[in-house]
Assembly symmetry: C2
Homo-oligomer: 192 residues x 2
């Protein structure tokens, strides 16, 4: 006789909950998302959700963190311009996905008044990516592709700041044209 494995059962429930939370973001806004709605959609009791996560923000962050892990690598072909181009185009694909837009903008909005969400976003999503970009830029600076006096964290902000500016202020849609133009100017600024 085979005893059901409780760990595997839990993992299935966990995945169902994370998937349900992301799926609900397609049809609802972040503000409209509730613990009750996620539990119902995942087919589990609300007490199961609260046993594992304190809030809808915590569930969404874990769901996003898992999906985002797949895109964590920063390309390194030895050609800085090509690698930044690849990475920025991947970012455009991510932020123009309607699902991403719904949950990420909801979380960033919630982060304005909730420091816990803000810190979780930074820790799970933003800082690891900034660090990978800085690592790639550092390698390029050592290889002589970037002037030695250029401050690399500023370069990260010049590359990504304009994308979040459009995304959060809604001045214009984020496009590949935007990041191409931005990248060309930034490369002009940092090259020896």
């Amino acid at each position: 006789m085979v005893t059901p494995n409780p760990d595997r059962r839990s993992e299935r429930a966990r995945r169902a909950i994370l998937d349900a939370a992301l799926e609900l973001c397609r049809t609802d806004t972040y503000a409209g998302l509730t613990m009750e709605g996620i539990a119902k959609s995942a087919g589990v009791g609300k007490q199961t959700l609260y046993r594992w996560w304190p809030s809808k923000a915590a569930i969404l962050l874990e769901a996003i963190e898992e999906r985002a892990a797949n895109t964590l690598e920063f390309p390194d072909t030895g050609d800085l311009a090509a690698d930044l181009h690849t990475q920025l185009h991947a970012l455009v694909r991510t932020v123009t996905d309607p699902l991403f837009a719904a949950y990420t903008k909801g979380l960033i909005a919630a982060a304005q008044s909730d420091p816990t969400i803000s810190e979780a976003l930074l820790k799970a999503l933003i800082r690891p990516r900034v660090q990978l970009c800085i690592d790639r830029l550092t390698k390029a600076q050592h290889a002589g592709e970037i002037r030695p006096e250029v401050d690399l964290p500023t370069v990260v902000e010049l590359l990504y700041g304009p994308v979040y500016y459009r995304l959060l202020l809604h001045t214009a849609p984020v496009t590949t044209t935007q990041v191409n133009t931005t990248l060309n100017l930034v490369l002009t600024a940092i090259r020896p």
Copy 2:
């Protein structure tokens, strides 16, 4: 006998309401702000508020628009680098003011799920400033201070994007050091 001027009385009430809304942002978050709280603090009935504005966002936007009008001029001394420096330092002063941080971040957060607030923010605050910056950059481009092929809206995003990136993602405090470093790299990118 002098008849009280109803226009003047209305203007006094209007100002009291706008001031109360801004003042409440000092002690409360945007999320905690209510029409009732603003009315009570301004010493007027809630029906007076609803007669003039549909929501707390509309009140705050009008209050911000009036205050921001004072800082609308873009300097033009004939020296592009000096003028951008002046303008970016003014921006740093504004966004590091705790009162500004409370209400603007609250409005930008609300704009993520409410297109009316988003459009009002763009119309009242962002587009007029972007246009003034583009006007100044256009003049500089005609004067030969910027290469003719440089796309000026992209330059605006390179200058302001990094500030909003720090402000809204909370990666680091906005500082004059940040905008100085950003400005130096952007000038390197756009100069002939």
